[in-house]
Point group: C2
Chain length 529, copies 2
């Protein structure tokens, strides 16, 4: 298969005519062929028109058909074989084993959503049967199901070129919900995007679905993205990326005549709390775990531990000393793009110049372009509290250790934090009551709380939350990873006194889809089907 | 009990010091005692500080305690006795039986949410147990529950002085979720608000809850509301009222450093589709049902049928003739406020002057102030499609009948509609296929679809949806009536590898709260508790 530089507008391969973007191999700074010319307003319009035309039909596909479609996408991605792996490695600088693992995760994610679609719990069916004799007024027959919002615009992430890009979590959950998807490809990996986009389009064709279910657009600047979000036929947005990017999309979505929800996963420094007994008992092991989590993938994870909070003392000193020694031996790793590398250097530079942040250790410098040199800084709680700049995210392998004088300062530091994707507690039995006292604060701050683990690594499962209060996300009521991600793209509709023949299958009296339904406030017995 | 004109900041009765508002008896235009001076910025600040201080403790109250609190509010409201009824009648011009019924509904709503709190399904517990042996990586133990967002600002509606005001649906569902509530009282019924507010505050005290769980503020202009929505300790907003009011709150909430969700129920004209066979078979009965629904409570329902869509022909002519005859005999009814009456007169005036809207019937003129004269207009589909002004909501007993030449025009008219709370279909067997063809459009437009009923009358139950696409609400993914309203005020938190002793009760391994939990993708057997 040869890369063409084309977009996909439904089943049609279309060459853009606006400014082209081109991937850069960040390991060499060399541009990669082909060029990807950008979409015009007319291309955006065509993709939206196709998505809109597909919506009513796609959203009523039988659950088995939609599930099979998601599985077919996974099959098609796997059948891209080594070409996909090699291109993704070239475009991202990520090691081959990581890309192989990410492909597995991406396909697993699609198959998980296929299972979710089949099970149908996401239809959220609630039935209140009629009470004709009720006084003073009878109760009508009321039946609620969830329906999809409409076509969704998806903006892929740079740091997960497969798992959070063209056929990643946002696309998989939106398609599972019954929403057509238009992806604005991330400019850092257009070739990977083209290959995966073709896999999705092939799955659309093989499954006999309307072509507007999926389109893929390129664009060098912000114009294509803003045009997409502003189109009246787009009804929701999925985004993973920077705080500024997410906020810009939220503003565009709110400025529409009909505002729409934006599910943006943006910025998090993922505080790690080290409690005294744990530090005393295993400070060195904690340092090893911390440095491994911090520097994995050049620190380019949304859940990278960018902040450590602990009470000062010999345990913390040992932790810092061990961590510093490890960081100093960390080899520089290629970052995703020159832009990300420059932003990392700028962020680290600000801390290096900061009067109240001390550099504790730096990793080995890179020899090649765009290599992330790990950095570890230390500050004092009062200094951290005095300057919000100290909690700005530095995307990459940099972390700041905040030394607290006592439990009260620890609490103040946590209360001072912005919203986070994760918060981690390392504790031993003797720390339990300290930790318990801080849990209410942490629950207000983060979407996922971990004990004695590391935040990098996000399971795709029912209970996962990859979300959190602003600025971690734009809507703390949601998750962008895990099966609950499908709920973002749904809204409830109630059917009152419908004849059975007009009711959608999920709501019919006989429960032909055998769903777990809430029936008059109770779980519906499966044997009354 | 004597009305004092005081606000409630927690348990403290406080006299405002800003411009006072005073209720007006709309039946006489006479002002009612006492005056209600408005809150200062410092009052808003105090109420928010108390709410914030109460949050962590209130949100972890045992479910039985929180449920009992909601029931106690209902008891306290009932024990206000006739004083509440008389004051509400005087402030709203609504008839006594309606206010009595609304009190019943309000207390029933609180008791329904008490049941919801006890059952605990809203905690949405999902458990993925650890898979220590999984390859290539073990799965951690992951447990998700819903936690409340934080203190909620509630703006009551003018048209439901009890059921959607101080202790109405927004307050009941926010309190049920574990959120402290600060109510900005509606200026049209401050006395009713004070009485109900004292009932809530008494319930707080009787149940031994922290005082910040509830406060009640007055304010003559928009300042108090904007200050509330802008306070960083407020984490969500519930609103029922005008489109402009809702949009202003959304803008204020989005302009915060940390944007927050606004659940605004705003504007809907609730289209009613009359299908040909139904019109032919029972046009006169339909006209009777329609006029009764249109003129009930002077048309001051969010779900008032402000638009009728039907194919022209003898059936529709008979319907119009019968409806016109009925409207002409409708006695004028007192509207809620002089402001609402003036807005109604303005809206009707615009239609009277509109070149393409014909007045078909007008009700009897009122003798007293602020009386709503019912109006029925007719227009043609092409005219309706040509001017968006024809679908502006006129709050009150006015409706517009859109005559369509054929099924295609009917579809165009429906596609042209903005988002709605409800859409109603009147049909006979011979209409079923026509109706089926339009259902996908209607599902995209409205939160509740009714067959052979009337949209006024909103059941408080599990399956109800009182919501819909913009501008019906600001967030189509939610409902403001029914038990699912609680879900607006919650966000998920995931607990990873927590020791059982640190887990909240809802998530503990032994399921001590006996919740219906999702366990490894299946409903947890209740007997493994």
């Amino acid at each position: 298969m040869t890369l063409t530089g084309n977009m996909l507008i439904g089943q049609q391969a279309v060459t853009g005519s606006q400014q082209a973007l081109r991937a850069i191999d960040p390991a060499t700074d060399h541009p990669l062929e082909p060029a990807y010319p950008g979409a015009t307003g007319a291309h955006v319009e065509q993709a939206c028109a196709l998505a809109w035309a597909a919506f009513d039909s796609y959203r009523e596909t039988p659950l088995t058909v939609r599930a099979h479609f998601l599985e077919t996408i996974a099959d098609e991605i796997e059948s891209l074989g080594d070409e996909l792996i090699e291109r993704a490695v070239a475009e991202t600088g990520l090691p081959r084993p990581r890309i192989l693992g990410e492909r597995g995760r991406t396909c697993q994610q699609l198959r998980t959503f296929a299972r979710v679609v089949r099970a149908g719990d996401w239809l959220g069916v609630r039935v209140d049967t009629a009470l004709a004799q009720r006084q003073p007024l009878p109760r009508p027959d009321l039946r609620q199901r969830q329906v999809p919002l409409g076509p969704v615009a998806v903006f892929g992430a740079s740091n997960f070129p497969l798992a959070f890009s063209v056929a990643g979590g946002d696309s998989a959950s939106a398609l599972a919900a019954g929403c057509p998807v238009i992806v604005k490809a991330h400019g850092a990996h257009p070739g990977t995007s083209e290959l995966v986009g073709r896999a999705v389009a092939d799955a659309v064709k093989k499954c006999g679905l309307p072509e507007g279910v999926f389109s893929l657009l390129f664009g060098a600047g912000n114009d294509v993205g803003i045009a997409l979000v502003s189109d009246p036929r787009i009804k929701a947005v999925g985004f993973t990326g920077s705080r500024n990017g997410g906020i810009a999309l939220c503003k565009a979505a709110q400025a529409r005549p009909e505002p729409i929800p934006v599910f943006a996963e943006m910025s998090s420094i993922n505080p790690v709390l080290l409690f005294p007994a744990a530090l005393d008992a295993r400070g060195e092991a904690l340092a090893q775990g911390f440095v491994a989590s911090l520097t994995q993938g050049a620190g380019q994870f949304c859940t990278n531990p960018g902040l450590v909070i602990a009470r000062q003392g010999p345990g913390l000193e040992r932790f810092i000393k061990t961590a510093a020694g490890l960081v100093e031996r960390i080899t520089a790793q290629t970052m995703l793009t020159p832009g990300i590398f420059n932003a990392y250097e700028t962020g680290v530079g600000l801390l290096l110049e900061h009067a109240n942040a001390q550099l504790t250790a730096a990793g080995l410098r890179g020899e090649s372009p765009n290599q992330c040199q790990a950095h570890l800084f230390v500050t004092q709680a009062q200094d951290f509290l005095a300057d919000a700049a100290l909690q700005a995210e530095i995307f990459g392998a940099a972390s700041l250790i905040v030394q607290c004088a006592d439990d009260d300062e620890t609490r103040q530091v946590i209360e001072h934090l912005e919203g986070q994707l994760t918060a981690t507690l390392h504790l031993d039995d003797a720390d339990l009551e300290h930790a318990r006292a801080l849990l209410p604060v942490l629950e207000r701050k983060a979407g996922r709380l971990l004990v004695n683990g590391w935040p990098t690594g996000v399971e795709v499962s029912d209970a996962m939350v990859h979300g959190g209060p602003f600025p971690a996300t734009s809507d703390s009521r949601t998750t962008s990873v895990g099966t609950a991600a499908i709920l973002r793209f749904l809204r409830p509709v109630c059917y009152q006194d419908f004849p059975d023949s007009l009711l959608p299958a999920a709501l019919k009296h006989g429960n032909p889809l055998q769903l777990r339904r809430l029936l008059d406030g109770q779980g519906e017995a499966q044997d009354n089907v």
